[in-house]
Symmetry: C2
Subunit: 187 residues, 2 copies
DNA sequence: GTCTATATACTGATAGAC
DNA sequence: GTCTATCAGTATATAGAC
């Protein structure tokens, strides 16, 4: 919408996301964000009415995409093909654009996010996504496999320690391991 | 060692661990801990010389156990049997006594722990443990499987949503899924 | 749209009495 | 071993000038 001088709002989001991820939401002060951008705290309050509204702002987009994904999955048959397609689409979203940064932020700030509305919503969507991944098989083992499938996509960023590996290769490996886990669901 | 009136030190540890896990390390103030125990902040400072020393105190025990586990693994042959035994021993430790609470605390406070010595040490041990789990196979997929194996043990606490399931059953399921992952390493 | 100035409250931590 | 009193620093947030 209104951008004014030059996307100050987006610059705030970018810096906040980076600092929240690096050192944690609580440990990052608005003063720190403002200093990094060479503006004052009060300037931040012009764009966002509170600290946690900054979080909400960059979470909303991701929330919307996950809702679309869940809705899509719900109207597919509960087959292995659907589960594979679902995790594939999820990985595509995870590795595309700015979303990986948002996910890293979530992984790193789980506890704080429990007391933030945006965090509760994300947790809810993750649970539902896991639910779709093991639809038709509500055994405990299936639930665990579904959760680990999502972890596989997330953790490929840090669990795989190889200096010269591309994002595409990381995604490929994550999906390979995810597929193994999914194959054991509902059989 | 010296216990004085009645294990005040242990009571502080217990309450701190609970609050740190529930609402996060940064968000939990010493005032809050003191109030819960009906003592003053200054009383806390008698037992621990800083806030992060409280963390250190209940992490040290766990650190020692992980070192033993890593040392044991290092002198075994790099076979599937060793990997299975290693994750089995790890799960036993995870599900025994007060240690699960400490692990939950770690999962929930990753970011903050990056700036705490105790946290860095724990991260280091987890990496080494994952390293032992995929010794002899340094492919990226193997690294990911090793990390997921540890996740399987950790996440069985919350990923499996079943009201009437015992800890033993959770452990059994975790190890079942872990074994599947381990079987694909080094083959 | 960004500023200065300020309000109010809480933080971790210390000194020293009892 | 626990207290009172207090420190200096920082937090989020607001009011109002420019």
């Amino acid at each position: 919408m209104s951008e004014g001088t030059g996307g100050t709002r987006q610059r705030i989001q970018a810096v906040a996301l980076e600092l929240f991820t690096e050192q944690g939401y609580e440990k990052t002060s608005l003063r720190e964000i403002a200093e990094r951008l060479n503006v004052t705290k009060a300037a931040l309050y012009y764009h966002f009415k509170s600290k946690d509204e900054i979080v909400t702002s960059f979470v909303d987009d991701r929330l919307r995409r996950m809702d679309e994904l869940i809705a899509w999955a719900a109207e597919q048959p509960a087959t292995l093909e659907t589960r594979r397609a679902l995790i594939g689409r999820y990985a595509d979203a995870m590795f595309a654009g700015e979303l990986p940064k948002v996910m890293r932020f979530f992984e790193q700030n789980q506890t704080v996010l429990k007391s933030l509305v945006a965090g509760q919503q994300m947790r809810d969507r993750m649970m539902r996504l896991a639910g779709e991944l093991c639809r038709g098989d509500d055994s405990p083992a299936a639930q665990l496999r579904a959760a680990l499938t999502l972890f596989a996509v997330h953790s490929s960023w840090f669990a795989v320690r190889a200096p010269d590996i591309s994002d595409d290769e990381r995604k490929k490996i994550a999906l390979e391991v995810a597929d193994e886990l999914l194959a054991k669901i509902g059989s």
